[in-house]
């Protein structure tokens, strides 16, 4: 019975400590900047187009084949009178968030730093009623970056892991 | 008291009859026990009824009923023990199949 008394004292000591609950919908815990929610495409604010050139590198590297990339000639390329240095640019881009396993590989393989993991809460609060809504198209993927709503985290030694 | 003694006696008689029927008609040993319980209840009703109505001190009948309850409890325990053993050894709780005593 003494052992039981000890258990009860232990629980009592917890009873007297304040609760540790984070009041979630009201209080959002600050996310670490490395947080990996889902990949997003970055927007080149200078030229007002996505960084992505549609090079398919990420599509091929994705372990779960959840990306689809279609590339087109850039209508904004300098050769056709635009101000962009990208000859090719992304035409259509889908990422199936429902399948993505958030492995960061697409970010690591992209040579244009055009894709980054969403490290804001918007990347986590993505419940939908239809799974087709989880297939993000180009517009959805870029809008957050377009608005400047994402601060991309670049690994300090990120170059070291091109395995 | 407005209820005549005969009402209780009639009730107890009917109950006893039902119990008697159960003992005779059913073959499951446990059901026979249940029927015996019914009969005992009828008997106890009689005891108390007579004690209340006919005994000025209204006492011995109550004590008898108390002992009936006590003994009935003991009886059920013992009888069920026997039934269980019967069941385990003869694979049945049916009294007709257990009518030979050579086990």
């Amino acid at each position: 019975m003494r052992g039981i008394a000890k258990s009860m004292l232990t629980t009592l000591s917890v009873f007297l400590r304040p609760p540790v609950t984070r009041d979630y919908p009201n209080v959002h815990k600050p996310l670490p900047e490395r947080d990996r929610a889902f990949p997003l495409l970055l927007w080149d604010q200078d030229i007002d187009e996505p960084f992505c050139t549609g090079c398919h590198a990420c599509e091929r590297a994705c372990p779960v084949e959840c990306m689809t990339v279609l590339m087109k000639d850039n209508p904004n390329h300098t050769s056709v009178g635009g101000n962009s240095k990208r000859r090719k640019i992304i035409d259509k881009f889908w990422i199936d968030y429902a399948r993505c396993m958030r492995c960061n590989i697409c970010v690591e393989v992209c040579n244009f730093d055009a894709i980054a993991m969403n490290n804001t809460w918007s990347g986590h609060e993505t419940s939908v009623h239809d799974r087709k809504d989880l297939v993000m198209d180009l517009q959805q993927l870029t809008s957050q970056s377009h608005r400047g709503g994402i601060k991309e985290w670049v690994p300090v030694l990120g170059q070291a892991n091109e395995s | 008291m407005t209820i005549p003694l005969s009402s209780f006696l009639v009730l107890s008689a009917l109950l006893f009859g039902i119990g008697f029927y159960g003992v005779l008609a059913r073959r499951s040993a446990i059901l026979i026990l249940i029927a015996v319980e019914i009969m005992l209840a009828a008997v106890a009703i009689n005891f108390i009824a007579f004690a209340t109505y006919r005994d000025p001190k209204a006492f011995s009948g109550l004590v008898f009923a108390l002992f009936v309850i006590a003994v009935a409890a003991a009886e059920v325990g013992l009888a069920l023990g026997i039934v269980l053993r019967l069941f385990r050894e003869r694979r049945t709780a049916n009294v007709d199949e257990a009518n030979s005593l050579k086990w």
């Binding site: 019975m1 052992g3 258990s7 629980t11 609950t21 | -």
Partner: protein, 372 residues
């Protein structure tokens, strides 16, 4: 014929009081569910219900409404009669138990001469409901749960009854009100510490509260006899559980803590008496929840062994000691001393019995080898 409340005839009076009790029971059971969730939340370093109504106060109401609006299933293979009547058999006895509960002087449904016996007798019936539920569900977990519940309830009923008798010996009556009033000076717990502890433990077991919750243990029998019940029928069991928790804590406080009496007289009025009852019961309820948060579940053999080998002999001894002291007119302090000695004996016996000797391992090996 004696007239009761408001000068009504006894039938009407009974109805009025019972309706009050119905309201009280519903509110209290729901409140208890809420309180238990909140308190357990604190024990778990979290908050508990918070978002339904202010401070989550409406949580139980929402639960109840939802359960009413939930489909009420009966498994195809279940035995219709037993399955459907199980909730009645569980709930009605508990409700009957309210009849003798003393909330304050002058308010209870009835003061029965044999109140304690009545309570014990009535509450022993509800176990049949558990067995009905368990057997009728045609579900193995339910079946095992029902059997366990029955075995546990009958085993702990004896220490329960006997320690309750120990109290009634002091007063020489089975009338709960008289027992309460006799404690105006010193509550019985002072004279009967051993009986109090035995009674508390047995009450935990009768309530199927941890550590005696093996009939409903989630990790073994997935909720016991109620596995197959859904919707409102299930919530009847749930309601009954909390109603009996309430009854039991009122009863303990009446028998051992002095119920609505306290040592400093009665001049503060009935409202204060009610408060005393509530406070004493709340302390007990908190204790019960606290135990729930802290102890593991016993195993069936340990549980039964504890009732038969430790609690039953000790409570018999308590009765004999009480009788001896009372018959030979020894000073009452002897009771206290003997009771404290008994508590030590209980602690010692518990630790000895529950801490299995190391040699038990050898038998475990032998068994597993024999079996495999």
């Amino acid at each position: 014929m004696p007239t009761g409340l408001l000068g009504l005839n006894p039938w009407l009076d009974g109805v009025v009081r019972l309706l009050l009790i119905v309201g009280l029971m519903t509110v209290v059971a729901m409140g208890l569910i809420y309180i238990e969730r909140k308190v357990l939340g604190r024990f778990h370093a979290r908050i508990g219900p918070q978002r339904t109504g202010p401070f989550g106060l409406l949580q139980s109401v929402a639960d109840a409404l939802k359960l009413i609006g939930k489909e009420d299933l009966r498994p195809r293979n279940a035995d219709p009669w037993t399955f459907e009547f199980g909730p009645y058999m569980v709930f009605i006895p508990i409700f009957l138990g309210f009849v003798v509960q003393p909330f304050m002087a002058g308010f209870q449904v009835r003061v029965l001469e044999l109140g304690l016996l009545y309570f014990v007798a009535v509450s022993s019936v509800s176990i049949v409901g558990w067995v009905m539920a368990g057997w009728g569900s045609d579900n193995r977990y339910a079946m095992i749960g029902g059997m366990r519940a029955a075995a546990q309830a009958i085993s702990y009923e004896l220490p329960f009854v006997l320690s309750l008798l120990a109290v009634s010996m002091l007063t020489g009556t089975l009338n709960i009100n008289e027992i309460v009033m006799s404690q105006a000076g010193v509550p019985n717990i002072v004279w009967q510490p051993l009986a109090f502890i035995i009674f508390f433990i047995a009450a935990l077991a009768e309530l199927n509260r941890p550590p005696f919750d093996i009939p409903v243990g989630e990790s073994e029998v997935v909720g016991g006899p109620f596995v197959e019940y859904s919707g409102i029928r299930w919530s009847m069991f749930f309601l009954g559980e909390y109603a009996s928790l309430f009854i039991m804590s009122i009863l303990i406080s009446a028998l051992f803590l002095g119920g609505y009496e306290w040592p400093f007289g009665t001049q503060l009025g009935v409202g204060f008496q009610l408060l005393l009852t509530v406070v004493k019961a709340s302390v007990l309820i908190f204790l019960i929840i606290w135990v729930r948060a802290s102890v593991p579940r016993l195993r069936i053999d340990q549980l039964m062994g504890y009732a038969w080998k430790i609690l039953l002999p000790l409570s018999l001894a308590q009765i004999l000691i009480n009788g001896f002291v009372l018959v030979y007119d020894l000073p009452k302090i002897v009771l206290t001393v003997a009771g404290i000695g008994g508590v030590f004996a209980l602690v010692w016996l518990t630790e000895r019995a529950i801490r299995r000797p190391r040699s038990a391992r050898a038998s475990a090996i032998a068994l597993s080898e024999a079996a495999s």
